[in-house]
């Protein structure tokens, strides 16, 4: 029954019903590709001028980026008073966007490092793009605190160094400073990890390019890669070590971001579950963004044989499990607020669900917990249009999660006379639009100039499961 259903719904990954191992370990890459096919298919976009679809997407992204740039220039010239903040709600849109973008980056490190250590072969088709997405998202995130400083040209004051300002040191007790360290470390390690993974592919492009600028650039950055056994051995050792080093970063970055709130004595912010809850939420939102991007890239760049229903289904399962963890954290917060008997905690959570921002709260719950439950159904996990829709829904939900945590915990202060509301100004909205513009512009440039799929890694999973068994090992493929 299960077998026949699988055969009916997976035309791209046929299974041999007679062989149970083939059912449990279906081919990840379809179309009977050879290593030469992989190189040709993945490098194809680099050799041709981009199509009309790419240009229109790039134009829209650049327009958004220009809108954002104008907004940022205006607010820096005028001051942070252009935002809708007030004395009660002193943190709102900018920090929401910061946390949102940092979170987006997490799936890249999860897929590239954690799933590598867990030997999930399906990651090979998506890790390159997910890592690029991480780098771009972290840059987008970093913009917001820098803009919030008001005088971004003094951003270097964030770093602790002996100075002539009397001597004025940064506040080591502040989680905001820990953010500086955590995020800059994250950006550095993610960039190194991405670059190291690119080296064999850069060498491939070098070898197939005609003499010219591309050959010179890829030749320089491929560090003299010659494909010998010794080179591969060293590469694999470095990759493994970097994966081990990057894994704690998946936890540390969003843990420290959560501490921006949890170390404050504000009901709704100060709660011990925040570190793991934020990490799970970050991975959840990151996976949603990877799905959004990969489903578009799959169609636009004709990668149907490389990003198959198995990859999408595996990511859906991960996203579902993360959504359930996030749902459990929402429930735990509510439960403990009631259990503790603390009237302030109880007020904050009831205010979230029933107060003036209840629309935002219920958007969050619906998008992050209720709607993703549909992914329990196998047929929906294999329906690309539906998965694309869900990924957008989760992106929206996770943005609202940060907005709900930040604004609803602040807007009704301890003293009712201090209660206030918050509405973002056009400048703030334009800045958010601009960050999306930056994100998509950079991602489209990445798709245009870099191999979007890790060719060297995908070639490693072309083998049939049976041959794989002899040489390789037992692997846990979530697909």
């Amino acid at each position: 029954m299960a077998k026949s259903k699988k055969q009916r719904t997976t035309p791209v990954a046929p299974v041999q019903a007679a062989d149970p191992l083939a059912t449990l370990r279906p081919q990840l890459i379809t179309g009977g590709k050879t290593p030469a096919d992989v190189t040709r298919d993945i490098c194809a976009p680099l050799d041709h001028s981009p199509g009309a679809l790419w240009w229109s997407a790039f134009s829209v992204s650049m327009t958004a980026l220009i809108v954002g740039t104008i907004a940022v220039t205006y607010q820096i010239a005028t001051g942070i008073g252009t935002w809708g903040l007030n004395r009660t709600v002193g943190w709102a849109f900018d920090i929401t966007n910061f946390v949102f973008w940092v979170g987006i980056g997490h799936a890249g490190t999860l897929i590239s490092a954690v799933l590598f250590l867990f030997r999930q072969k399906w990651r090979t088709s998506v890790n390159r793009s997910a890592e690029a997405m991480t780098l771009i998202a972290v840059v987008c995130a970093g913009l917001f605190p820098v803009i919030h400083m008001g005088r971004p040209w003094l951003a270097f004051w964030m770093f602790p160094y002996p100075n002539t300002r009397g001597s004025l040191w940064v506040n080591f007790k502040s989680p905001l400073l820990w953010d500086v360290f955590a995020i800059s470390t994250y950006l550095l390690i993610s960039a190194v990890f991405w670059y190291v993974g690119l080296i064999p592919d850069l060498a491939t492009i070098r070898d197939k390019s005609k003499p010219g600028w591309r050959r010179r650039i890829t030749g320089f950055f491929s560090l003299g890669w010659n494909g010998s056994a010794r080179t591969w051995h060293r590469y694999e050792t470095v990759y493994m070590l970097l994966a081990g080093l990057a894994t704690p970063l998946v936890f540390s970055v969003h843990t420290i971001v959560s501490m921006d709130f949890a170390t404050a004595m504000i009901p709704g912010w100060h709660t011990t579950i925040f570190p793991p809850y934020f990490v799970a939420g970050a991975i959840f939102s990151g996976l949603a963004m990877v799905l959004t991007l990969m489903l578009i890239a799959r169609k636009v760049m004709h990668l149907e044989d490389y990003i198959t229903v198995l990859h999408i289904e595996a990511m859906c399962k991960l996203m579902l499990s993360m959504g359930c963890i996030v749902g459990l954290a929402y429930g735990t917060e509510f439960f403990i607020a009631a259990y503790s008997g603390n009237p302030y905690e109880q007020f904050v959570f009831l205010n979230r669900a029933l107060g003036p921002f209840s629309w935002a709260y219920w958007t969050m719950v619906s998008c992050n917990v209720l709607i993703p439950q549909l992914l329990w159904l196998r047929s929906l996990r294999r329906n690309f249009a539906f998965v694309f829709l869900i990924s957008i829904v989760v992106n929206i939900g996770m943005w609202f999660e940060r907005f709900v945590i930040i604004v609803t915990s602040l807007h009704r202060d301890f003293l009712p006379s201090s209660w206030a509301s918050y509405v973002p100004t056009i400048v703030e909205v334009a800045t958010l639009v601009g960050s999306f513009g930056l994100f998509f512009s950079c991602f489209l440039l990445f798709c245009r100039f870099m191999p979007v799929i890790a060719m060297a890694e995908v070639k490693g999973v072309l083998k049939s499961p049976q041959r794989d068994l002899k040489h390789d090992s037992a692997r846990g493929d979530a697909a």
Partner: protein, 387 residues
Amino acid sequence: MTPASAPFSTLSRRLALLAIVSAITLAIGAAISPVRTWSNLLIINFYLVTLGLGGALFIALTYVCNASWNVSFRRVPEALAVLLAPVGLGLLAVLALGREHYDWHPHGTGDAGTFWFKEMWCNSTFWFGRAAVYVSLWILLSRALVTVSRRQDNTGTLGLTIANKRLSALFLFVYAVTFSLASCDWLMLLEPLWFSTIWGVYNFAGMVQAVLATMIVLALVLRSRGPLRRIFTDDHLHDLGKLLLGFSCFWMYIWFSQYMLIWYTNIPEEASYFIPRMQGAWGPIMVVNIVLNWIAPFLFLLPRPCKRSESVMMKVAVIVLIGRWVDLYVMVFPTTMGDWPVFGLWELAGGCLLIGTFGWLFFRSFAKAAPVPSADPLLGESLHYHC
């Protein structure tokens, strides 16, 4: 009795004897120092339940991931999962006997109106009823997982693997909700005015760490004495070692998250948990807890050869298992026994009862099925596994 159990009949008898002697000692303890004995019994039973539940969790996680490396020694966590029935009933009995330790009533703090939920939640009947529901659900689902796996020995049907995969997803969902609530009901409620949202995650981390260490010890014993010889390889050991290293770090991460956030804000109703544990005579025990659960496994398990060494792995696993007891000890004893740590005959008897009962029940349940799931379609991958 299958041939797999033969080398263990003497060991089982000795463990049963140890359990009986310890139980008699604790019965005397119950007459002399009832609160202390009950505290010991709570630790033992919670420890045993989390081992059984951890076994089922390990099986479920590997099924949903389609993993194969663990198939060759899957009968070890399966035998752990079977333990849930007797030890779950034991825990319910201990809870029924110690209801007064969870007694909550408004202490005149705050507005009584804000406590309506707690009053309802802490109602004796509801509290015990919930415990019975949690334990029943765990027993039911873990038994189903084991039964399906054992049935596959006769048929080798692929459909049974798929059935267990679905069952595992259901188990994980139920487990996450019920275990979070159960750890609050059975351990956090010992201090009724204290609360921490991370408590369920903290207990999850400790549970996984302990069950990994237990599987390492058991698989090594079963390998040296026959049933898993040439089946449980150094590569399997290596991977269990990596997981233990990872989860030791995860435990420390969760411990630190809870401690740091409470320390940083220093709100009296939250700090009330850590003040007696950090500032009095309990302080050194908290340090020992961290050394056993994180520092020792981290330092020993970082080098690759250590994770493939039988003797190192055995020692580290035992350290972690002792660490798990210490972790539960600092959760329970400062509340029930006061400011001074006590360790004597009753705690030793408790530890012996834990080992004796566990070992006896485990080898009994392990002997009830073939030592290897011989017809599992993924067994071949597992036997050829190289990490």
